[in-house]
């Protein structure tokens, strides 16, 4: 069985600033690596009637139902080219004491990179914590805690 990314990352000395960079439409988004449980080839998703545009539907992951959200929609990214190898990133969302698993549909998983939270600016108060520069490129740091829990 594949090793959870966060666990392998700790063993390799990755820090709390380690983020998984993913392509979502025309945006590159950064997901805190400690919240990433698995990166999978895009799961089969069953749409739910009446769902908002952000919710692609339900998938099965490890024998359990998993809501799958469209990351590009969540962060308001303009649509990009049709992805060659779309992925589903299974992440923990919500506050630490009430976290839950969701899948994030993205165009590609790119790399693990350091994003210092002190360098993040201009958050929108929602699902984007803010923006940061990584190797000269703007990335949107996603606030996964804001995704879970009750409204």
């Amino acid at each position: 069985m594949a090793e959870p990314l966060a666990e392998s990352g700790r063993r390799r000395g990755l820090s709390a600033g380690s983020h998984l960079l993913v392509q979502a439409g025309e945006y590159v988004c950064a997901l805190p690596l400690r919240s990433v449980r698995r990166v999978l080839r895009a799961l089969t998703v069953h749409p739910l009637p009446g769902a908002t545009d952000e919710l692609k539907g339900l998938a099965e992951f490890g024998g359990e139902p998993l809501p799958v959200l469209e990351l590009a929609r969540l962060v308001g990214a303009p649509p990009g080219a049709k992805p060659a190898y779309p992925v589903t990133i299974v992440v923990w969302v919500g506050p630490q004491d009430a976290r839950e698993l969701v899948g994030l549909a993205a165009d590609a998983a790119l790399e693990v990179s350091e994003v210092q939270l002190t360098s993040v600016v201009a958050g929108n108060g929602g699902f984007i914590l803010g923006e940061a520069l990584v190797d000269g490129e703007v990335v949107r740091v996603v606030n996964l805690e804001a995704l879970g829990g009750d409204l």
């Binding site: 069953h46 359990e64 139902p65």
Partner: protein, 121 residues
């Protein structure tokens, strides 16, 4: 889904499909099934729900509660979520029926053959 599933319900569930979505209804909550042409109407909680296909009956399902992330983006109501044969499904709460299964125009006069959840007529 991170919260633990509820204990298995040994009474079984009727599995139905509507618009490509798989739904599960506890057998004890099914009051009848009526055929309407190629489709069906399922009586639950004193109301008829529209369904496209009766998939079958399963003896048990582990049911997970709806999580906050799902409720945030799906305003309908349900009794929980489950998985059967690697397919996710939504559990109907007979006390709060989902809008997605309700019939827009349900005349009382067009009832057909009636059977209960175990196929008795």
């Amino acid at each position: 889904m991170s919260p633990a599933p509820t204990p298995v319900d040994h009474r079984g569930f009727l599995l139905v499909r509507r618009d490509g979505v798989l739904w599960g209804v506890a057998n004890g909550a099914v009051e009848g099934i009526t055929r309407h042409g190629a489709r069906f109407r399922l009586a639950v909680g004193g109301t008829e729900l529209g369904i496209d296909e009766v998939v079958g009956v399963v003896p048990e399902l582990a049911v997970w509660p709806l999580t906050g992330a799902l409720r945030r983006f799906w305003p309908d109501v349900a009794g929980g979520l489950a998985v059967h044969a690697e397919a996710p499904l939504v559990i109907v709460d007979p006390r709060r029926l989902p809008r997605a299964l309700q019939i827009a125009d349900a005349p009382e006069s067009s009832k057909g053959e009636v059977a209960d959840a175990e196929g008795r007529h």
